[in-house]
Amino acid sequence: MRTQHMKPNEKHISRTQIAARLALGAFAALTVTACTSKSVLQFDAPSGEEQIFAAPPAPGAVQLRVLSSREYKNSVKAILGVDVKPDLEFGARRNGFETSADGLLDQNLLSALIEEAPVVAENYIVTNLANEYPCLRDVPPGDQCVRDSVAAVGFKFFRRPLTEEEINDYHNYYNERRAIDDQHLATVQLFSRFLLSANFLYRSELGKLAAGESTTRLTQFEIASLIAFTLTATTPDTLLMNDAKSGKLSGDTIRGHVRRLLKTADGRNAVIRFMKGWLKLDNLDDMHRNPDRYAKLQSADQAWALKREFELFVKDVVLEGAGTLRAALTEPVTYVNRHTAQLYGVQNDGDSMTRVQLDGTRRGGIVTLASVMAAHASSTDVNRDRPVQRGTMILKQIMCGEVGIPSGLDVISAGNQAASRVPNYQDLTTREQFDVIMQQSESCVSCHQGFMPFGYVLGNFNALGAFVTDFRGRPINAAVTNVPMSRGRRNFDGPVAFVKELAEDERVHRCFTKQFAKFVTGADNGPYVDDLGRYFHAGFRRKKFNIRDLIEDFFSEEFLYQRKATAP
């Protein structure tokens, strides 16, 4: 296979090799790609070879994914039109996103859901049942209308048609309850059972494994669920389900749905959630929910404005504007109101968020937004940034690098000793303080040198994200030298030069696709997402790193819906 973009030393992969790799699985894919490119996960800069074409990854494993609390609440709202209590929160975040596939339905969660289910059912029956399923309110239990209603309700909850066995099971259950309880209570029980069904609480990605086969394709309804929950965090809508019923969910049809959903509010919110996970912005939401825990905040309104700034930036630059990763990392634009304007040195007296074009000399792009810098900083002291936190965020989240944890080192004592040795320690800038601490041990230097430059270069942004040039009269030094990037070692005099280089860094491009793969599949770091990241990087690069295109391409690829059974 050849492309117009092939370079002289590029190896191409034959159709035969692709087929063989699909048959062999993930390890075969690694074998092929390892021959053709250097690992982009190594710390030192890659050689510059460009991997334009990559073979499709091996199928992912079949899996069940417990709904996150967001998905659960949204699904209940979509199906029944009633709200779940707001403080019911659950869901694994092991892969950095709330879409992790490693969630477990343990006893604590089950007991919470058991308590909530009849409350939700009761609310629904009181408000909406009569209009939607009058049979379940007024008709004797053995009636065909009741059976049809059970099937219709089940279709919504299970996100697929029920089998005859399942319809009989639930219909008989309703009849039994009617024999014991009054109709109202029997209907509460029926809906409670649906709400607690494994078919509702789990997103299945199982396909239909035939005897003797090791791989399968997800069913049409499972594909609809995968698309819907990823892009809207709720159950598939009518249009998706209609195409699923007709067996049309593949290729361009899927692309059309993705394009459609990205224009909805739910779709936009999904992209915003992905970007928040990408940059590990848990604290941004926490500041908004619990402003009292952040003494550095000037008000709860400021926390809201910071959160809103990030959301509007993503909407503006990623969803509606240029839409490229490059633009996201460098575009000098933001949104402020009167609570955050002073962080940018601009005037604003209103409560509405207003777009501001920055001059690009001090900051630009998503990393240097006040909201992102505030999320990676001290929670109490407005003057203290956190170079370790910021640096590891860049290395791990944006470059997919590895950071070890200090072993055998008492970091608390190291800090205390440094403070006691230097008389004016409290007056030092944060960078100066860390330099004093790390000088105590070669072990500290050797590990920290991997990410501290990324934290220091952002040192002009205080704990609220305002750009400051000095601390107690001491100039803040954000210059870093000899930093290993994909295009070679670089010197940066400040954050603007740094984020521009990030935008060109191949590691960043590959990592972005890998992060998106984690977001969609729920998988954590490992061969599967590595393969997905490498594969989609080729197309991502081809399309000038357009994020909307990446999303569409991702879901349009057939292999995303292939599954294989895992070994015990």
Binding site: L104, L105, N108, L185, R193, A523, D524
Partner: protein
């Protein structure tokens, strides 16, 4: 840690650490409200042996005066060595006024005020009214006597210094106060809630049964690591089911003592019948929880009945001489006192024989029975008996000897504390403390 290890370790953790889920109520089953009756009679004993038991604390024998209380002995605590504090005025001598004035107030009498009976004034609030006020519950004072007398020696009840309470003398007066416009409550108010809870539990169990069936179908389609997730889920269902199964075994609440409002009757001039009518009213007041604290004066100090209802008793006027002056009348003194104590014993038995919640009415009622006098006119070693275990706070079937010269305000303090009043004393000594030998 790879994914398989994570899921497997999570399964282990959930199996080890998942709390056994029980939706059983955390709080203890609610008990009926406790009631207290302070019963005061006006005759003591010819000699200590006639009243106080023989034996030791746990192996003791009923005395002649207490001989009729064999059926309730296991619910009694007889207390020796309690004295009324011999302080303050003793108008007209012979302790008649002082004992009445102090038996339920534990306060010295106040000197007579102008225009009031020359026996002085009560010095403070009486214990049954004090308990009622402190706990914000209803109290009632009743007196059984052949005719109403206004002298102090007929009035041990007060709301405060010089603020005597006229007790209900006629049963119909007491009935009007307690039961007029009263609608008896449901004797088992907790039952509907219990039944609703059981219904919800059975509903939840039915849901869980269905969930296990569905998991089985899922399990057939999975292999390897994903099955571990279902193991955690199934374990959660089974533990939850176990908790529900235990909760379904909970016993339904027992009904409270049935509240039957007695008929409103006019009194009787016949003392025993008068006693019975007043005790019927007290019983109904407690059963209907209309009253939580009561005082019952049994006769008037110095004005004794002739006990003509006792066969061949042979007293025409009153037993005053027998009680206070004639040592030779020991047997008749014992007979009359025995009859008095038999009546309070029967009342205690009636309470004991009436189911109330998980126990009986006597479990939930404390009776403090006292006499104004010990031997003849003496106010030391006064007869004192406690009936009931005060909802498990007291160990009964005992004969307790308090230290020599213990004052009875400690017993009144104990009773108040067992009712839930936050106090360390009562009467003239608010720091006297409870009777340590009682629990």
């Amino acid at each position: 840690m790879n994914r398989r290890e994570f899921v497997f370790r999570s399964l282990q953790a959930s199996l080890l650490l998942s709390p056994v889920l029980s939706i059983r109520r955390a709080e203890a089953q609610q008990l009926p409200r406790m009631k207290v009756l302070f019963w005061v009679c006006c005759s003591g004993y010819p000699d200590a042996e006639a009243f106080f038991p023989t034996g030791d604390e746990f192996n003791w024998n009923l005395s002649p005066i207490l001989q009729h209380l064999g059926g309730i002995k296991d619910q009694m605590i007889v207390i020796d060595n309690l004295n009324i504090r011999p302080t303050g005025p003793n108008p007209n001598g012979a302790e008649h006024a002082r004992s009445v004035g102090k038996i339920l107030t534990a306060k010295d009498l106040l000197p007579v005020s102008e225009g009031v009976d020359d026996e002085g004034d009560l010095g403070g609030i009486s214990i049954e009214t004090y308990v009622g006020r402190e706990l914000n519950v209803r109290s009632i004072c009743m007196m059984v006597e052949d005719r109403y007398r206004r002298e102090l020696r007929s009035h041990p009840f007060a709301t405060g210094p010089r603020q005597t309470i006229r007790p209900f003398f006629e049963p119909d007066e007491a009935w009007d106060n307690t039961f007029r416009d009263f609608i008896p409550p449901d004797s088992n108010p907790g039952l509907p809630e219990f039944e609703a809870r059981m219904r919800r539990l059975r509903g939840k169990k039915s849901i869980l049964d269905g969930m296990l069936g569905e998991l089985s179908r899922f399990r057939r389609e999975l292999v390897g690591i994903e099955r571990l997730k279902l193991d955690v889920h199934e374990d959660a269902i089974r533990r939850t089911e176990e908790g529900i199964r235990r909760d379904l075994e909970e016993e339904p609440p027992r009904p409270r003592a049935e509240c039957r409002v007695p008929d409103r009757v006019r009194s009787s001039s016949y003392v025993p019948e008068r006693c019975q009518l007043q005790q019927d009213l007290l019983f109904a007041s407690f059963a209907c929880e209309r009253v939580q604290s009561a005082g019952h004066m049994w006769g008037s100090s110095g004005y004794h009945w002739n006990y003509g209802w006792l066969p061949n008793f042979g007293v025409i006027d009153s037993i005053h001489n027998i009680v206070h002056h004639d040592p030779a009348e020991r047997e008749r003194y014992i007979r009359s006192s025995a009859w008095d104590w038999q009546q309070i014993g029967r009342f205690a038995e009636r309470l004991r024989n009436t189911p109330d919640g998980s126990g009986n009415m006597l479990d939930n009622t404390l009776i403090v029975a006292l006499s104004l006098f010990g031997r003849h006119h003496e106010i030391n070693r006064i007869p004192a008996v406690v009936f009931g275990n005060a909802q498990g706070r007291l160990r009964t079937n005992r004969f307790v000897r308090a230290p020599f010269n213990t004052y009875h305000d400690k017993l009144l303090t104990s009773a108040a504390k067992m009712m839930g009043v936050n106090t360390n004393g009562f009467g003239d000594d608010m720091n006297c403390g409870p009777l340590e030998q009682l629990p």
